[in-house]
């Protein structure tokens, strides 16, 4: 019984992190149809910022976290301005390939300008300590992650429902041109989307760093892949779908880890992807996709 509860806690915290990552991708995709493969590198920017602060002998954890999140947000908005604006209204393939290109450039810039080797980041170790809930042992980090993700989801829901910019972003997902025709500046909508995306990446970065303890140029690859898969499963472009996909992916991963015999351990990734592929074949548009309403001029 405790084992199941333990694994469910694992699934929850894995899922929370994937949901966070997936939301970062989904918010950009829902508005501009761009799969931002460089999202992982935004996370890495956060990580390298932490390194920079350590070298400046700033180890106050709140400062470290705060600056890293700000750096990630700033990097994301800058990327939009510099790299993605020219392909803003282009077809999805162009955007996708541009994002790939940006991702490679950034990864290699890290390699070039910092170091090809992993660099340790120890200022966040304090976040992790074991907590005993009855007979289950969980990590405090898991708890933080789950709570933070829930808080983020609530905050985003409020933003998207109550603020004009949030409404504009939701509307833009279906008809961007019409949003412009109500006088709302396209630049503002895009910047807001990338800002939120960067913020989410920064928050995710904090948890990833706390767990990994080090940053290297290819840090972003795994998270963005997971985020991508989560979005796909939940329905690309749907924000609730991203959350659902994230938690589902966490559950599938933990299930695979638990159920696969030892001998097949190395194949977890392949199995997870296999399940995802099958899910896609069953529901090619993802589980929850934004429906195209009739009567809208596309």
């Amino acid at each position: 019984m405790e084992y199941i509860a333990q694994q469910m806690m694992n699934a929850l915290s894995f899922g929370a992190e994937y949901a966070l990552l997936a939301l970062g991708l989904a918010i950009v995709f829902s508005i501009m149809g761009l799969v931002n493969f460089a999202h992982g590198e935004i996370i890495a920017v956060g990580g390298y910022t932490m390194v920079a602060m350590t070298s400046l002998a700033l180890s106050n954890p709140l400062i470290v976290i705060g600056v890293a999140v700000i750096a990630a947000t700033f990097a994301s908005v800058t990327l939009e301005r510099v790299a993605f604006r020219p392909v803003r209204y282009a077809d999805p393939t162009t955007g996708l390939l541009t994002a790939f290109g940006v991702s490679i450039v950034l990864q290699n810039l890290f390699l070039l300008l910092v170091s090809p080797r992993p660099i340790a980041v120890t200022s966040l170790y304090f976040l992790e300590w074991p907590i005993d809930l009855g007979s289950i042992r969980i990590s405090s980090l898991q708890l933080f992650e789950t709570i933070t993700t829930i808080a983020v989801i609530i905050a985003m829901t409020l933003f998207l429902r109550r603020t004009v910019l949030g409404l504009a972003m939701r509307a833009a997902a279906l008809d961007f041109e019409m949003v412009r025709l109500t006088g709302i500046r396209a630049n503002r909508v895009f910047a807001a989307a990338f800002m939120i995306s960067g913020l989410l990446a920064g928050i995710a970065c904090v948890f990833i760093m706390a767990r990994r303890g080090s940053v290297d140029p290819h840090l972003g690859f795994d998270p963005v892949l997971k985020a991508f898969v989560a979005c796909v499963v939940g329905g690309f472009g749907s924000l609730p779908g991203a959350v659902l996909g994230g938690f589902l992916l966490g559950a599938i991963e933990v299930a695979m880890l638990v159920m696969l015999p030892q001998s097949l351990g190395g194949m977890t990734d392949a199995f997870v992807f296999g399940i995802v592929a099958m899910l896609l074949i069953w529901r090619p548009e993802g589980i929850l996709t934004p429906r195209r309403e009739k009567g809208d001029k596309q």
Binding site: D175, L181, A186
Partner: protein, 232 residues
């Protein structure tokens, strides 16, 4: 109010509008009539800035030609586009809120006003706009446009795809707007209804203005009317 000079609109290599000139005076209701493909919607797109064009477009002595879409809207243009294009995933109220986005105060009052004028919209205020009927969506599209308190209202094919009874309702509504002094540029295929409302009308064909005049002049031109309405 709105002055168009030698407007040319290209869709790739195709010239959709071949140099037309017209104007809309304050308080007037002007119609652009013509068959499918005449260039009416292209003209509207050029005015809003969605389509690239050459020529001059002036609104109240402001030259709009170099401005992007959003700036032109903020200068006082509002559009109820072809196909209505309400934000289907947002509620009726949220649609109106977006329409009045660049209005700082009094948003809630403005919305309440519209719900009084169109009780149906009020009834459906929290409903997703995509679930409204065609006529209701058209009302919403116009109300959304008017939330911005524009200088001029562009209406692109408001009767498209609607039942005749609803069409009459919509045109009554547009008539009421005109009586309140709203400047309107109306694009329509339904010439009879449009002419009833308009002070002046231009007939487009193949990207050029082939006829113009007051509603009476055009209306009494039987051959023209036959062409436009398909009746003899």
């Amino acid at each position: 109010m709105l002055h168009i000079e030698n407007l040319k609109v290209f869709h790739g290599p195709i010239e959709a509008v071949r140099g037309i000139s017209f104007s809309v005076k304050e308080g007037q209701c002007v119609s652009l009539l013509g068959p499918n493909g005449a260039g009416k919607t292209s003209t509207i797109s050029a005015i809003t800035g969605v389509a690239k064009s050459t020529g001059t477009i002036t609104l109240k002595n402001d030259d709009l030609t170099k401005l992007p879409v959003e700036s032109r809207i903020c200068k006082g243009i509002a559009l109820s586009p072809e196909g209505r294009r309400v934000f289907a995933n947002l509620s009726v109220e949220e649609n109106l809120r977006l329409g009045g986005a660049h209005q700082k105060e009094g948003l809630a009052d403005c919305i309440a006003e519209w719900f009084d004028t169109f009780p149906i919209l009020g009834e459906r205020r929290d409903q997703a706009a995509g679930t409204l009927s065609g006529g209701e969506q058209q009302m919403l599209a116009i109300a959304r446009a008017l939330m911005a308190e524009p200088h001029i209202l562009l209406l692109d094919e408001p009767s498209l795809g609607l039942a005749p009874k609803i069409v009459t309702q919509i045109f009554k509504m547009i008539g009421a707007l005109k009586d309140k002094g709203m400047t309107i540029l109306l694009v329509e295929q339904n010439a009879t209804q449009a002419l009833r409302l308009s002070d002046y009308a231009y007939l487009l064909n193949n990207g050029r203005i082939v006829a113009e005049g007051t509603a009476e002049t055009l209306g009494s031109n039987d051959t023209l009317m036959a062409e436009l309405t398909g009746l003899t």
